[in-house]
């Protein structure tokens, strides 16, 4: 494990917490130059490396900054301090089917979503059958997606994202909606990914799944990195801390 896919270099991310909802001109003028807000550091000096070809789990309790970190990885947020460097093409799946147009058919949405995720029309056309196949919604592909069940929605969205064929795939807890069969399919896909030497970074609260899929993990707590390294000890440390919390 010498090669590094993602290097998270002393990343800190700050949010401004306003005491009142601040998106009005009046409050901006009222408070004048001096703004009334608190700085909230959702990520504090997080520093780790993700080796190429690993399946990397991010764990931690609610509000610990996992999604924020993923969004920084996905270039949706930009960290105030530190930097993130990549080795390869990155694709993020933070929410499935964002960008689906409810009135358009599954087919039209595949092309639309594909291009939002950065695929060219040619690529989508080439992979169209594969996407439809994997999603298992062939029968409804010409129906408007608003008629899809939430599981079908996720399936289609996930199939598109996974076919972007990135070197690094970033996944937030989006797979929970699929049925057992689909989850099985996804785990298989992650295994294939790994075989191809690709990197997956995923967030999950399902420790069993993390244990099964991940070989590396990082544990975040209140925006700080507590532990990082081999999956098993990290998960165990996290679980232990939970049990201790209960005991107190």
């Amino acid at each position: 494990m010498s090669e590094i896919a993602v290097r998270v270099d002393h990343v800190s991310k700050k949010f401004r917490l306003y005491h009142e909802r601040n998106q009005s001109l009046k409050s901006a003028i009222m408070r004048g130059r001096r703004s009334v807000h608190e700085d909230f550091w959702a990520l504090k000096d997080v520093n780790f490396e993700v080796p190429t070809g690993s399946t990397f789990g991010l764990i931690g309790s609610n509000g610990s900054g996992k999604s924020t970190l993923l969004k920084c990885l996905a270039k949706i947020y930009y960290p105030e301090k530190g930097s993130i460097s990549y080795n390869g093409k990155i694709a993020a799946l933070l929410e499935v089917g964002s960008g689906f147009h409810p009135e358009l058919s599954g087919r039209e949405n595949i092309f639309l979503n594909g291009s939002i995720l950065g695929m060219t029309k040619k690529e989508v056309t080439r992979k169209f059958d594969e996407i439809v196949d994997f999603s298992g919604v062939e029968q409804f592909i010409d129906q408007p997606v608003k008629n899809y069940s939430s599981g079908m929605y996720v399936r289609l969205g996930f199939s598109i994202a996974i076919n972007v064929n990135p070197d690094i795939l970033v996944v937030d807890e989006v797979l929970a909606v699929g049925d057992a069969e689909f989850q099985e399919k996804c785990s298989q896909k992650f295994v294939d990914f790994k075989k191809d030497g690709k990197t997956v970074i995923l967030v999950s609260h399902a420790m069993a799944a993390v244990r099964e899929m991940c070989d590396h993990a990082a544990w975040l707590s209140h925006g700080e990195l507590v532990a990082v390294g081999e999956a098993e000890p990290t998960i165990q440390a996290y679980l232990n801390s939970l049990n201790q919390g209960e005991g107190l």
Partner: protein, 278 residues
């Protein structure tokens, strides 16, 4: 330069988003694209009744086309205005309307307002096509002027797009923007010679003479309005069927490029902060 390349690389996405708007817009309607004509036609009817029959506004006949039909004269100014106002309104709201997308997926955000220019422009193109047919039926000789009309349309699209880009950013930070702008647009429309000829303003301007002891007249101030120049150019081309006034055309180009360049610069500077500010 790198930014331009990135925007250029996402032109396929831009095309797809535009198509999404166009296809989604009249889904499940019986009349489909014809609805795009309904609004201008209704406004035309109302304005013609109120301003032509009740208030007796009479614009000069087309020179040299000889056209003298209020409704057609009105549409030559109203269609560009409606396009402009719709692009500004929808473009301004486009980032907020796609908040879910902006917060979950990385892509050059600039395609959101720009796709509105595309989809509204598509409707406009359709409306202008119908207008050309009407003009021909009324006996205007528009063919030689169509190419220049397309150029003028392109310039107006740049101008509207530039404003939409700036306002989209402002609207993310202050939701007041959208309410404020909708009022400004209403006033703006009446400050532009769309439903009345500019000759009426000229008359008033002469009556008042130089303002505050200077040689600046009311008309000079009135003509600072960029839309006045655009409407003039469209009327000269379509209704009068003659070369547009070079000053008007030049000013249109300057306004258009200025607004677009500033719009892109403003949007680019703020693009990275959009997701968390939403």
């Amino acid at each position: 330069m790198r930014y331009l390349k990135e925007v250029l690389d996402s032109r396929e996405l831009l095309a797809n988003l535009t198509l999404r708007e166009i296809r989604g817009q009249y889904k499940r309607t019986i009349f489909g694209q014809l609805w795009s004509l309904a609004n201008p036609l209704a406004s035309m009817l109302v304005y013609t009744i109120v301003f032509r029959f009740i208030l007796r506004v009479s614009p000069p006949a087309g020179d040299p086309s000889g056209l003298d039909i209020f409704a057609v004269w009105l549409l030559c100014g109203l269609l560009p205005w409606t396009f402009f106002a719709t692009v500004v309104t929808q473009g301004m709201g486009s980032v907020i309307a796609n908040a879910g997308l902006v917060q979950k997926v990385y892509f050059p955000r600039i395609v959101l307002p720009l796709s509105k220019v595309g989809s509204v422009g598509y409707n406009w193109l359709f409306e202008m096509g119908v207008l050309v047919v009407v003009l021909v039926l009324c006996g205007a000789f528009v063919w030689p002027w169509l190419l220049l009309t397309v150029v003028a349309m392109f310039l107006l699209a740049l101008f509207a797009g530039g404003l939409a880009l700036m306002l989209a950013v402002a609207n993310v930070h202050f939701r007041d923007t959208q309410y404020f702008v909708s009022i400004v647009l209403q006033i703006w429309m009446y400050l532009t010679p769309i439903i009345y000829p500019i000759s009426l303003v000229e008359d008033q301007s002469v009556a008042y003479g130089g303002l505050f002891g200077t040689s600046i007249t009311l008309l000079d101030i009135y003509r600072l309005n960029p839309l006045e120049r655009f409407v003039a150019v469209f009327r000269q081309l379509l209704y009068d069927n003659r070369w547009p006034d070079p000053t008007d055309l030049l000013l249109c180009a300057i306004w258009a490029l200025g607004a677009f360049v500033i719009g892109i610069a403003v949007f680019r500077r703020n693009e990275k902060k959009l997701a968390e500010a939403l």
